[in-house]
């Protein structure tokens, strides 16, 4: 079965530190990849998405992600985090044309940024 793994459950960083959150998926076919963010008390928002083309994708608020097909990975990065980045981050994968017809989410990574 297709699955999405986020290896870090909770990450704690100080402001200005660099961030990298891991995401791996299990599927050899074509995928569309997403990162969503859920700020405290708010709904899920799309940070960035990858469909095709340049594997380095830039999203909102200075986030970027790199698709490495050979590693089945789509890691999220930010060079310098801010306190306002404190949130839960979800990686999601759409297995293109798959019968499930839905996004499969990882379990999420909670990011806490200390001021």
């Amino acid at each position: 079965a297709q699955s999405v793994s986020q290896h870090n459950h909770h990450v704690i960083l100080s402001e200005a530190a660099s961030l990298e959150l891991g995401c791996n998926y299990s599927y050899g076919g074509t995928v569309n990849l997403f990162w969503y963010v859920q700020y405290p008390g708010q709904h899920l928002q799309l940070l960035l998405k990858y469909f095709s083309g340049d594997p380095l994708v830039k999203g909102i608020k200075g986030f970027e992600a790199e698709f490495i097909k050979s590693k089945f990975s789509f890691n999220l990065r930010k060079p310098s985090v801010q306190w306002s980045d404190t949130a839960e981050y979800f990686c999601a994968v759409s297995f293109y044309g798959g019968s499930q017809g839905n996004l499969i989410f990882g379990k999420g990574t909670k990011l806490s940024v200390k001021p």
Binding site: N32, K49, S94, G101, N102, F105
Partner: protein
């Protein structure tokens, strides 16, 4: 453009009761998806509706059901509520399932 709207925002129910949650998708979106977000479990896929038909369901018992209306709005029904049904229920809509979803703010269900 109005986003995905869900009602009610909060709900408290007793074990064994039934509940109906509602979702209105973004105008023009024909697909509606329901997810359960329980503490520590991430988002678990519940149901997918498109053009009024149930297209797929996740690994949930039959007491979780729903429907989609001709205007593409949707209901999620949960019968015989159990304590572990306490969660945030999220609705999302999309124009095309492969291009990502827009989520609503969710309905927080507490079963006591």
């Amino acid at each position: 453009e109005a986003g995905v709207t869900q009602s009610p925002t909060h709900l408290i129910k007793t074990r064994g009761q039934q509940v109906t949650l509602r979702c209105s998708p973004i105008s023009g979106h024909t697909s509606v998806y329901w997810y359960q977000q329980a503490l520590g479990l991430g988002l678990q896929f519940l149901l997918w509706y498109d053009e009024g038909e149930e297209r797929n369901r996740g690994n949930f018992p039959p007491r979780f059901s729903g429907r989609q209306f001709p205007n593409y709005s949707s209901e999620l029904n949960v019968n015989a509520l159990e304590l572990e049904d306490s969660a945030l229920y999220l609705c999302a809509s999309s124009e095309d399932r492969d291009y990502g979803y827009t989520f609503g703010s969710g309905t927080r269900l507490t079963v006591v």
